[in-house]
Amino acid sequence: MTSSLRYKSRIPIKTVRADLEKQYVGFATLPNQVHRKSVKKGFDFTLMVAGESGMGKSTLVNSLFLTDLYKDRKLLNAEERINQTVEIIKHTVDIEEKGVKLKLTIVDTPGFGDAVNNNQCWKPITDYIDQQFEQYFRDESGLNRKNIQDNRVHCCLYFIPPFGHGLRPVDVEFMRALHEKVNVVPLIAKADCLTPNEIKKLKDRIREEIEKFGIKVYQFPECDSDEDEEFKQMDKELKECTPFAVIGSNTVVEARGQRVRGRLYPWGIVEVENQSHCDFVKLRNMLIRSHMHDLKDVTCDVHYENYRAQCIQEMTSKLAQDQRMESPIPILPMSTPDVETEKLIKMKDEELKRMQEMLNKMQQQMHEKDQ
């Protein structure tokens, strides 16, 4: 597997010259140590794919990770799909590359958008994501925290059909239901039915509609100012290219004397890894080579924390109402009162003040009378 783009490795692996030993402390090797430890520990990543059936989700996942995850898949007929509900299916694989182990979990959502009535068809999906958060929350608050399994969904690839003029109501509703629970990355599926002009128009349209409907898709983090120019340029190109227009393929064809993953048509060959044909390479780089860890960080720091805060708030308000309930997880008594009790306290304070004033007045009157 060759490619023209490699993630720039910024690990300093040079050795130190002996004459500098006097001024040298030695913590510059920390990144090395982190690298070693993480290689030993191994990584895990959970990716969710969602979209109507026939958008090429499985093909894309196979192309991304160069494996065949869907060997014995059974597809439903049209009549079976009329009243289909959404299922959640997990595939887990362990893959290894240059000593780095990755436990990859793909969460598939067959049946999404396939029924005739698609009201609330994303509910099983949001329930699943919440379940994983809850599971992690419990594990984290448990007594034995040695082997916590992180099953939280780190990224959700949403496949938008290229046959329309932009987003459809079901796309908008789905992304809005999920954008605060998981990193949503919208993709334009089956991009080999669009000419370059059409792709550009569609991308502009989708970006406009995403802003119009207030959908918070995953944003790439800003570059640090001390990055080199090449990286900044790459980052800029990446940002301008969203949503990525992708093509996937399960077959290898012969093109220009090389064997590449592609699709063979009577009028030409579409190469999946050709940057002028589609944005597959950009997606792969973003997802795997540069932003995988950032996706995990945003999941932990933003989405999970939001869920946790919400959960705790609900629990303590329930506790306040019903003192007999035992807290299922150890939580500290709240140091900051929540909004309602504050309001109550303010009201009581005011009442007290008023009564004090009245008392003073009455005392004065009595005093005057006495005189």
Partner: protein, 428 residues
């Protein structure tokens, strides 16, 4: 002309077959018909059903080589609507009045259970207006603009797996009302092997669910062979484009990709040419005929049966429409009279009821009045009594006062006398 040339054959339905010994000339009848039709002009109505953005307008533009000026529809229509536009086209000396009906917003709603209804209603409306025209007393079918849908192109989304659930539900509702011709839209996203599997899957799903799509006719020997071949290639995988790209040294309708050029009229690339041939060149007249003789007749039969007409009465003897109509009319008139009677009776009854009610009310009012009067009189009497007592008291009091005054006056004079006496006695 010798008598031996006249063949005698057994009489089958009252008509004998005769062979001619010379050229009579009625073989020009088809030509006369053609001339007449050409003068009149032809009419064709196509309905295109498909999701927003699937390429319905582009395919129409490509098929008829013009620009029908359709604007892009939005994905956020709350309901499915139909938009019909009529155009007059001409090719050599043949005039065609083409009506293209497009669905707007099909497949965009969250709940698509009612999506097929506007389409079915539209088709029924066209049948209904034709039926009305046929049943008129003074009718002009000759110059009637036939708006019944002759062909329905159903655009299937190129997922590569199978039909969508919405497609199945919609086609099932439409297959007895219109000639359905399914097409695979945007076929330049499916490779040849995938296309083959996709077509087989679609046809098997249609067959297993009992959906009757339009089959090209096989009874006419001149076109039977080509039609049989085409029937096996359904549904057609089409690509539409109005832009031209230069290929070789010609400008052809095509789509330009970075990896190649998809030529619309290249049979190797897509089935557009086959669709055009089948739909327009070969079978347009058959589509119209099927619409009239099969779908319209079915609609008409259902409608008339609903209204209560039958072809045979309960004893299975043929009944003419006129008799049935007269019988229905009589029935209707009798019912009308009955209803009128009923209403009149009800009216009379209501009037009576109201009258008695009012009478009761009047009586009650009267009794109340009497009661009040009596009360008033009683009170008056009581008051009178009191007044009399008061006057008695007054008069007795007056008398007592007068008596008292008199006594006082007497006393005074008596006292005066006494005083005088005293005074007088004092002097003595």
């Amino acid at each position: 002309m010798s008598s031996s040339d006249v063949a005698r054959q057994p009489v089958s339905d009252g008509a004998r077959n005769l062979s001619l010994s010379g050229h009579v000339g009625f073989d020009s009848l088809p030509d006369q018909l053609v001339n007449k039709s050409t003068c009149q002009g032809f009419c064709f109505n196509i309905l295109c059903i498909g999701e927003t953005g699937i390429g319905k307008s582009t395919l129409m533009d490509t098929l008829f080589n013009t620009n029908f000026e359709n604007f892009e529809a939005s994905h956020f229509e709350p309901q499915v609507k139909l938009r019909a536009q009529t155009y007059d086209l001409q090719e050599s000396n043949v005039r065609l009045r083409l009506t293209v009906v497009n669905t707007v917003g099909f497949g965009d709603q969250m709940n698509k259970q009612e999506s097929y209804q506007p389409v079915v209603d539209y088709i029924d409306r066209q049948f209904e207006s034709y039926l009305q025209e046929e049943l008129k007393i003074k009718r002009s079918l000759h110059s009637y603009h036939d708006s019944r849908v002759h062909a329905c192109l159903y655009f299937i989304s190129p997922t590569g797996h199978s039909l969508k659930s919405l497609d199945l539900v919609t086609m099932k509702k439409l297959d007895s009302k219109v000639n359905i011709i399914p097409v695979i839209a945007k076929a330049d996203t499916i490779s040849k092997s995938e296309l083959h599997k996709f077509k087989i899957k679609i046809m098997s799903e249609l067959v297993s669910n009992g959906v009757q799509i339009y089959q090209f006719p096989l009874d006419d020997e001149t076109v039977a062979k080509v039609n049989t071949a085409m029937n096996g290639l359904l549904p057609f995988a089409v690509v539409g484009s109005t832009e031209e790209v230069s290929v070789g040294n010609k400008m052809v309708k095509a789509r330009q990709y970075p990896w190649g050029v998809v030529q619309v009229e290249n049979e190797n690339h897509c089935d557009f040419v086959k669709l055009r041939e089948m739909l327009i060149c070969v079978n347009m007249e058959d589509l119209r005929e099927q619409t009239h003789t099969r779908h319209y007749e079915l609609y008409r039969r259902c409608k008339l049966e609903e209204m209560g007409f039958k072809d045979t009465d309960p004893e299975s003897k043929p009944v003419s429409l006129q008799e049935t109509y007269e019988a229905k009319r009589q029935e209707f008139l009798v019912e009308l009279q009955k209803r009128e009677e009923e209403m009149r009776q009800m009216f009379v009854q209501r009037v009576k009821e109201k009258e008695s009610e009012l009478k009761d009310a009047e009586r009650e009012l009267q009794s109340r009045f009497e009661q009040l009067k009596r009360l008033h009189a009683d009170e008056k009497a009581a008051l009178e009594e009191k007044r009399r007592l008061l006057e008695d008291d007054q008069s007795s009091f007056g008398k007592r006062r007068a008596a008292a005054q008199l006594l006082q006056a007497q006393n005074l004079t008596a006292n005066g006398k006494k005083d005088k006496d005293r005074k007088n006695s004092g002097f003595l």
